[in-house]
């Protein structure tokens, strides 16, 4: 039986083994770039938290009888509260949607600010069971606006459409 020490790979290949391996690092980098592209280009609509009012019934994922979340700005003077039911209109890109909601929306809910309503479209009216207020990334000091925009309309026109 042969028991001579098995010849191992020569010194050259052992030196190679010590060298940093670049191929996997390049693969990681490429995969990350690919990941960025997939996530930012193709998956946007799928991870989006809500549909805008103008996309309801139009865009993939915002159509049909499925449960959706709709974002829009509460139209001024559209809020009617009767016997525990709130009704108001949402507007976005010149499209409006009537929303019916059981109860009193929480948060800083008021007219002229963007909100997200959960529910489904029933006979052209959005039947919602949950309202979330989506506040913007604009912060305006209260004292200052008292002079500049005392009228409610001014506050409405300030908000992005």
């Amino acid at each position: 039986m042969d028991l001579t020490p098995r010849p191992i790979a020569d010194a050259e290949s052992r030196a190679q083994k010590q060298r940093r391996r670049w191929a996997p690092m390049i693969i990681v980098a490429l995969a990350l770039v690919a990941g960025g592209v997939v996530v930012s280009q193709f998956l946007t609509s799928a991870i989006d938290y809500y549909c805008n009012v103008d996309e309801v019934g139009v865009r993939d994922g915002c159509v049909g009888q499925r449960r959706i979340r709709v974002q829009g700005i509460v139209v001024e003077n559209s809020l009617k509260q009767t016997s525990g039911v709130s009704e108001f209109s949402l507007v976005f890109n010149d499209k409006t949607l009537r929303v019916r909601y059981q109860g009193d929306p929480g948060g800083v809910f008021q007219e002229c600010i963007p909100v997200v309503a959960h529910g489904r479209v029933v006979d052209g009216v959005f039947d919602s069971d949950r309202i979330e207020v989506k506040h913007t990334n604009q912060y305006v000091e209260k004292n200052k606006t008292r002079f500049e925009a005392t009228k409610e309309t001014a506050a409405c026109s300030q908000l992005p459409g």
């Binding site: 995969a31 990350l32 799928a46 049909g64």
Partner: protein
């Protein structure tokens, strides 16, 4: 370089054959893991027995059951290595770590795929899901690519705790957040394939792209890091 590649191929083939042989002779997947995942699926069916809900969440349940079962398979995959000091022996033998990584990943992938096919069949029966032909194609593509990613990430994190105390509790903590993209991606792709909740099948392909990216990242990271990870 070619000689190293040959070594890697030789070692990975030896490891994958060894792992599958162990599974074949011990039948842990068949006798323990498969019933475990079956129990998960049935429990969900009991708990969520409400019109519509089950069909809507079926894709998520398939993948959740897969992930839980995967934890068991990964534990087992490294328990056989540490039972009689075989991992130590592999390490001291200077066995190419990349070969071990690829071999163990492949074995894990084969077992996962078998399990997923079973879960899919159960979902079709129990949850009354009826995909189209296109839906089936999408489902199988999802399974294949998600499984490649799961195989890599499972082997990487399984090797991390191998031999350390407390690894049984550590593995879920590390592995479950890491596989969250797979859970989300595979679930959404399968939802699209099943048409759950009114989803269209075209919505699924970008998610499969995400799964492919995940597999690429963890394949490459594992190739780099598995050796240092199992080192003392």
């Amino acid at each position: 370089m070619t000689s190293r590649m040959q070594t890697v191929r030789r070692v990975s083939l030896a490891v994958v054959r060894k792992d599958l042989r162990i599974e074949w002779s011990s039948k842990v997947l068949l006798n323990q893991v498969a019933p475990f995942s079956l129990v998960i699926m049935i429990m969900f069916a009991f708990a969520l027995d409400n019109e519509g809900i089950l069909q809507r969440v079926a894709p998520g349940l398939v993948w959740l059951a897969t992930l839980f079962s995967m934890l068991v398979i990964v534990q087992r995959s490294f328990a056989v290595e540490t039972a009689d000091g075989a991992l130590d022996a592999l390490r001291v033998a200077g066995t190419e770590p990349l070969g071990i990584f690829i071999g163990k990943s492949l074995a894990l992938m084969v077992q996962l795929l078998a399990l997923e096919l079973m879960l899919l069949a159960i979902a079709l029966v129990l949850y009354a899901v009826e995909p189209t032909a296109m839906g089936y194609a999408e489902t199988f593509a999802t399974m294949l690519i998600a499984t490649i990613g799961l195989g890599f990430v499972g082997t990487l994190y399984g090797g991390l705790g191998a031999g350390a105390r407390g690894r049984e509790t550590l593995l879920p903590l590390l592995l479950l957040p890491a596989v969250a993209p797979v859970l989300i991606g595979a679930t959404r792709a399968t939802e699209a394939a099943f048409g759950s909740g009114g989803a269209q099948s075209s919505e699924g392909w970008p998610w499969i792209g995400l799964l492919a990216v995940f597999a690429g990242v963890f394949g490459a990271v594992g190739a780099l890091a598995f050796g240092p990870m199992i080192e003392e």
